[in-house]
């Protein structure tokens, strides 16, 4: 069971306290109605599936409840970094 560092609690906690919430750094368009079908499709459906470094969102659902961002290696399953929502991409 992986240990994940929650950037809000500033503690490493067991994986079962967390829930994965998909790819990170996909901002909801500010004016969805102004989006073309293709732009909206890209926002809604198109996701990366990298081998290696992956930016993803996690929620400390059985802890502080906060969503945060993480860089995880999809091959080794190791977390490179976790950081608060709103902070720049690492």
């Amino acid at each position: 069971m992986i240990l994940i560092h929650c950037p809000y609690c500033d503690e490493k906690r067991p994986e079962i306290e967390f829930a994965n919430a998909g790819q990170a750094h996909i901002a909801r368009p500010l004016d969805p109605s102004g989006q073309t079908d293709a732009e909206w499709e890209a926002y809604l459906f198109i996701r990366a599936n990298p081998r290696g470094r992956h930016h993803e969102r996690w929620r400390h659902v059985h802890g502080c409840g906060r969503f945060f961002n993480a860089v995880r290696d999809t091959v080794t399953d190791k977390f490179e970094a976790t950081y608060k929502a709103g902070e720049p991409r690492r």
Partner: protein, 953 residues
């Protein structure tokens, strides 16, 4: 071979005889014996029948790597454990053990005919032969194969034992308490580290237990460690898996070795998080591959030493050794010292260290160098062996009753590999050893390849002058895989060891190839003419040895498998005969049958009561979220399809929630309590999901909004009071709220008191009748319910369950999200256009409702269905076709989502999702069901009181 107890020696307690049973016969051993050593001491050599060929099999090993001696232990009803290794079962008085995979008896096994038919059972035989005809597999081939090939019987009775589990944390976890593990513990003992030292055996020592010269050291060391307050010692504890971030799973066996079943857990699962791990799992000796190497009496040389020195048992009267490694010679010298008779040492090598030759000479042991065993005589035990002089190809016969194998050593890298540490091939050892770690872990001792057993030759199998295609030289004893099978796989084109493994099943038995993997690799390497590292290595996966389901499940079984959530009113429903159903994790009353009433009759009665007078319903399971803050209305306006900003405090609104893809995900009536405070309700099953979704948008998309979300589902008991007499019952019980129609209209909320308890009183209806939903603090739920029951008695107040609730809502065309929608239904598909704020610039899901596929014609839309025969209740889930006479497979245009008998209407009603359904009103559709195809006409979804006159009273 006939084993016997030596006059002296061993660690067994000869003053404590133990009587036990094997296959119904009674035997005697000593305290400290394993089942294997005790039976061996009694001259038993036959321990089981092999998996495929039903060949007689004896002990190969003395530890948990034993592939052959799988036995069952029966401790009474529900306490039957199959597939235990006899080497790991400690005997106790009254132990009842049984051999497996034989019929009618171990000595005379009908299935042994497979051995004679062996030439017809090569690798891949089952795959090749039983493919045709396909229909024969389930009824003919599989049952027959299962009967013939197999392991022990699975227990059928429920396990009455209790299994414990615990979490532990330590600075240093040492797995394996042989000399290397004990040294590691002693070395760190004086630090402040919290240390856990574990071993799968019943006492510490590992290999030292078979070396009397180390016993004084062992005794001193164990005492020192036992006295150290920072060291926890766990014996009979198997570390079965190594997971991320130094998380180790281990099972401790607590009572199986005791004569009486104590009132305590049978096993304990340890989940250990360690800062640093030391793996000291040792190494496993490798068998040698030659014809007849599975005959009972052919075993690992290190095992014979363990039986003699640890248990005081000789495995035979005249032992011969077949060696390719020095370690076997040392074992023979130790056996001679222990008083065991020696016949000869045979070594495949042309020369060995002169010190070994001198010692053999001194002990009077005959040595045959550059020789190999080419035949083993005897079926149920070794009588003699034929050896070949590779110099002149002369074969001679040697009398012996036990043939030992010393084929070198395989480091136990199982847990290291679980942790994803890398391995490197060492030509000198002919084995993989740990290379780069992936966690904070080190390997010490045998499992790191660090041993002083001497040198050896790396061979795939012994050369033989015989026709190789006619000999059975076993590689994997437990799965009956021979060298021939592996060569056949290579001939048939398999190249990767992963494929060879699966085709031949080498290493796929319950021992996961502990004794077979490396020999299999060597044989494949020779057959492919490629070095071993180029062929790869199969993965090691948990568990290291088989573990019980009980240990892994722990307390999570029966009622504790997952929590059952109950409301404060649940105990009343229980006491009044409710029939329950599970909704998500909630236990909800489905209906309240009177004596001799079936569900149909009860539901009809409950529905009529609500429509004609008064019903009462426990709605406490509804999800509830308190939304508070200056931007609360703005937040809800962005989340829900409806407009929220203009909603006045004191009023309610039906809210429809979409996901960003435009499809309905939840709904519920919510109330505005104040300018900055809302009381949301969600579906029973959707509460957690909706809160998570709202938190997601609030935290990550709109962090500028000043809003707080709090789950209040369990803070309120909710009682729905529904029916024309609802107001009359409430009036005398409510304080501070004007209940009149003018002051308290439909879709409003008021705060006050009921029965003296503070309440949030909603005037809402999921039935179409005048209705109220009374929210009170959870602890008062049942008390208020009972007051309402007493007050409502004059109106024959009737408790109703979820089944009647479903009928009542369907009569009004109210949808259930997840039943009438399926995650692909938009508000327009569901006929809920009215709930979408047309003027709102944005809300979650709005943009998606303009996607090309969402606006295209022919989408499935929610409609009502009225069967032509009003007594036919369609099956929910039934498919719908436009033309019943079209050829099969028919084009299905939709399906029935809700269907009930409506006692109020005196006919059946149904809702359905039908392609283009909104334009089909009045059309006849066809619903094929078992026995008959029914016809129904498309209608609107509101079957009762379409104008809502009954609500606004």
């Amino acid at each position: 071979m006939t084993g016997f107890r030596l006059e002296t020696g061993g660690r067994v307690d000869r003053s404590q005889p133990v009587r036990f049973h094997f296959d119904g016969k009674t035997f005697q051993g000593f305290a400290g014996d394993s089942l294997a050593s005790a039976l061996l001491a009694n001259g038993v050599m036959l321990f089981g029948r092999s998996f495929k060929y039903h060949r007689p099999r004896g002990l190969v090993a003395a530890g948990s790597e034993e592939p052959n001696a799988l036995i069952s232990v029966n401790r009474g009803l529900g306490r039957f454990t199959p597939n235990l290794r006899a080497t790991g079962v400690e005997i106790h008085n009254g132990l009842k053990a049984f051999s497996q995979n034989r019929w009618p008896s171990l000595e005379m096994d009908f299935g042994a005919i497979n051995d004679r038919l062996g030439m017809f059972l090569p690798a891949g035989f089952y795959n090749k032969t039983f493919m045709w005809p396909r229909s024969f597999w389930d009824k003919v081939y599989e049952p027959a194969i299962r009967k013939m090939a197999g392991l022990g019987d699975a227990p059928t009775a429920e396990d009455p034992d209790v299994y414990a589990s615990t979490y532990a944390h330590c600075d240093l976890l040492i797995i394996g308490a042989g000399p290397a593990g004990i040294d590691a513990a002693l070395g760190s003992m004086d630090s402040n580290k919290r240390i856990i030292l574990m071993d799968e055996q019943d006492e510490l020592g590992g290999g030292a237990l078979a070396d009397p010269s180390l016993w004084p050291w062992l005794e001193r060391s164990v005492k020192a460690l036992s006295d150290a307050p920072n060291v926890t010692i766990l014996t009979r504890t198997t570390a079965f898996g190594y997971y991320h971030d130094n998380f180790i799973g281990a099972v401790q066996r607590l009572i199986d070795h005791l004569p009486e079943i104590e009132d305590m857990p049978r096993e304990k699962l340890w989940r250990i998080r360690a800062d640093e791990v030391v793996l000291a799992q040792g190494a496993i000796e490798r068998p040698i591959v030659f014809g007849g190497n599975d005959t009972p009496g052919v075993m690992l040389s290190s095992a014979a030493k363990v039986y003699a020195n640890r248990f005081g048992v000789a495995v035979g009267k005249a032992l011969a050794l077949m060696a390719s490694h020095d370690s076997g010679w040392h074992d023979m010298f130790a056996l001679a010292k222990a008083g065991v008779g020696i016949s000869a040492i045979i070594d495949v090598r042309e020369s060995v260290d002169s010190a070994l030759m001198h010692e053999a000479d001194r002990l009077g042991i005959t040595v045959y160098l550059n020789h190999g065993v080419v035949g083993v005589n005897g079926r149920h035990g070794v009588r003699s062996v034929d050896i070949c002089d590779y110099g002149n190809q002369q074969v001679r016969r040697i009398d012996t009753d036990a043939l030992l194998m010393a084929g070198g050593w395989t480091p136990s890298v199982h847990l290291w590999s679980h942790s994803k540490g890398s391995l490197k091939w060492r030509d000198d050892l002919g084995a993989y050893v740990p290379d780069q770690p992936n966690e904070n872990v080190v390997c010490v001792g045998g499992c790191s390849g660090d041993w002083d057993f001497g040198k050896g030759a790396i061979i795939d199998m012994l050369p033989t002058p015989k026709d190789q295609s006619r000999i059975k030289a076993f590689v994997d004893f437990q799965n009956d895989v021979t060298a021939k099978d592996i060569k056949l796989a290579v001939r048939e084109g398999f190249r990767s060891i992963e494929h060879i493994k699966r085709y031949t099943t080498n290493g796929m038995a319950t021992d996961q190839g502990k004794t077979s993997n490396l020999n299999g690799l060597q044989i494949a390497s020779s057959a492919l003419n490629q070095p071993v590292p180029d062929i790869g290595l199969t993965s090691f996966r948990p568990p290291y040895t088989p573990q019980t389901f009980g240990a892994l499940a722990g307390h999570a079984k029966g009622a504790l498998f997952q929590p059952t959530r109950t409301t404060n009113i649940d105990s009343w429903a229980q006491a009044h005969g409710a029939v329950f159903e599970l909704v998500a994790q909630w236990r909800r009353a489905r209906y309240f049958p009177k004596p001799n009433e079936n569900m149909h009759a009860a539901v009809n009665r409950e529905c009529i009561a609500v429509r004609s007078s008064l019903g009462i319903f426990d709605a406490s399971t509804l999800g509830k979220i308190e939304v508070v803050g200056p931007d609360a209305a703005e937040f809800l306006n962005r989340m829900y399809t409806n407009p929220w900003k203009a909603l006045e405090p004191g009023r309610c609104r039906y809210g429809l929630l979409l996901k960003e893809d435009g499809f309905i995900t939840d709904d519920g009536v919510s109330a505005r309590l104040a300018h900055d405070r809302f009381h949301l309700t969600t579906t029973t099953g959707g509460a957690a999901r909706v809160l998570n979704m709202m938190e997601d948008y609030l935290q990550t998309e709109w962090p500028d909004l000043d809003v707080w979300l709090t789950s209040t589902t369990e803070q309120y008991a909710v009682i729905a009071l529904q029916g024309p007499n609802a107001r009359k019952v409430l009036e005398p019980l409510v304080e501070g709220i004007d209940l009149s129609a003018e002051a308290f209209p439909h879709m409003a909320i008021r705060e006050g008191r009921i029965c003296g308890i503070e309440t949030r009183l909603f005037r809402v209806s999921f039935t179409g009748e005048l209705g109220f939903e009374i929210n009170v603090p959870t602890a008062y739920g049942r008390a208020v319910w009972e007051q309402l029951m007493a007050q409502g008695a004059q109106y024959d107040i009737t408790p109703y369950g979820t089944e009647a609730m479903h009928v009542l809502r369907a009569e009004k065309g109210f949808i259930i999200v997840g039943q009438d929608t399926d995650g692909t239904i938009t508000p327009f598909d569901a006929g809920l256009d009215w709930a979408v704020g047309k003027k709102k610039p944005d809300f979650v899901g709005k943009r998606s409702m303009a996607r090309p596929d969402i606006v295209a014609p022919g989408r499935k839309q929610l409609v009502g269905l009225l069967t032509d025969d009003p007594h036919i209740v369609l099956q929910e889930g039934a498919q719908i076709v436009a033309d019943p006479n079209q050829p099969i497979p028919m084009t299905m245009i939709g399906h029935v989502t809700s269907s009930y008998w409506s006692e109020t209407l005196g006919r059946s009603i149904a809702m359905a999702l039908v392609a283009g359904g909104h334009d089909m009103t009045g059309d006849t559709l066809h619903i094929p069901m078992p026995g008959k195809t029914h016809t129904a006409k498309v209608s609107g979804v509101v079957f009762y009181d379409p104008k809502g006159a009954r609500l606004n009273v």
